[in-house]
């Protein structure tokens, strides 16, 4: 019964570049990004859409790549932390995370940076509550969260109250 399933051609944009791959239907987006495209910033942690370590932006919106089939990327654009680093907002966030000590082990950081980018794209000057609310679905076990909120506010040009 197994492995007879036809592969699916996935043509999409990843970090601004058109790419193509053939995937098994059961392949998840995280596997395509990590194994096929070498984008290892996409981290597997909880594997149940709770932690946000595998978050990537699909057409600008965060999704959990651990549970989203790879074929869902067809015709869409995917942004990972590697691609974010090349964008002005990505640089601002990276700088703020470094300056505010907003990461420690760094395993949650790619997903947090991307989620923060999605927030700042839609709300360029958020309040601390908005930041917390938006990032509520991302876990970090090292920092205690406070410095992450401060960093996102700083990247938006606002200081924490």
């Amino acid at each position: 019964m197994s492995s007879a399933t036809p592969r699916i051609r996935v043509a999409c944009e990843v970090n601004g570049r058109p790419v193509e791959a053939k995937v098994e239907p059961r392949a998840f987006l995280i596997d395509l990004l990590r194994d096929e495209f070498g984008l290892t910033s996409v981290k597997r942690s909880c594997d149940v859409q709770v932690c946000g370590a595998c978050a990537v932006l699909l057409d600008g919106r965060p999704v959990s790549s651990c549970t989203l089939p790879a074929f869902e990327a067809r015709g869409h654009s995917v942004l990972t932390a590697e691609g974010l680093a090349d964008e002005p907002l990505g640089e601002a966030l990276a700088r703020a995370f470094a300056q505010h000590a907003a990461f420690q082990c760094g395993f949650c950081t790619p997903g947090l940076l991307l989620t923060a980018k999605a927030l700042l794209d839609s709300a360029p000057a958020p309040t601390a509550e908005q930041v917390s609310e938006c990032l509520e679905g991302n876990l970090c076990r090292c920092t205690g969260y406070k410095k992450i909120v401060e960093a996102v506010l700083a990247a938006a040009g606002r200081s924490a109250v």
């Binding site: 019964m1 197994s2 399933t5 059961r26 859409q49 959990s64 989203l68 938006c134």
Partner: protein, 285 residues
Amino acid sequence: MRPFTLHEPTSAAEASALLLERGEAARLYAGGTELLLAMKGGFLPCDHLVNVKTIPGMDAVALDGGALVIGAAATHTAIESAPIVRERFPLVAQVERRVANARVRNVGTLAGNLCFAEPHSDPAALLLLYDAEAVVEGASGERRISIADLQIAPYETALEPGEVMTAVRISPLPGGARAAYLKFGIHHRPTIGVGAMLRVAEGVVVEARLSLGSVPPVARRLPEAEALLLGERAEHLNAESSAVAEVADAAAAQADAVDDLHGSTEYKRHLVGVFVRRAIAQAAA
């Protein structure tokens, strides 16, 4: 996870035919936030995924007459951010904005939430406040199922083999109606969700609906408690009022709670009383 074949029908009829053809081995797939988790965990064997998102128009969120029609492929995010929902069905937008986390909302659908029939669901409880129906299509054509009859047991719906939910239709609340929905819990899914709808005419409650989710195996109305609200003056319905306390007690007594990781039956019954009281007070305020 075991391999599966993806099917991408372009009509509900085609999807229905695929389901009938493959029987138990096939399942509808919308956002997959439940289905793929279950498949990954090995709880739901499935060899054929039938994608509802390739059916044209399924992601629509639109008004039909006064009713809100939410296509089966509309995500929680699409629903909560749609201007017509925010303006005309603000409570639906509010609740949808607080389902799960942003990533699940960006992918998961209302239809998927309802059809999975997981007992800890917000929309399942919320929609009982409205006249709402599931629109389903199967081999013998289209039919509508009242939202109250859609879920029949945990993880079980009234859909017949081969039936596809195409939309949820939600009628506006009647004139003079006010509604509130409260949820509580420390886990990712709610421990309890309580809705209250009060229609008030000349200061008096003429119609009341109370809904309870996550506590019983299937979200349900609380008719005995509702009856006690009729004829009450809305201005008296605050959290301290004895009338409300009586309703809350009736609701708690009626709640068929189950023990699980969220808490004991006894505690959940207690919460029913607390949140029925708070929801009524909020709706009446």
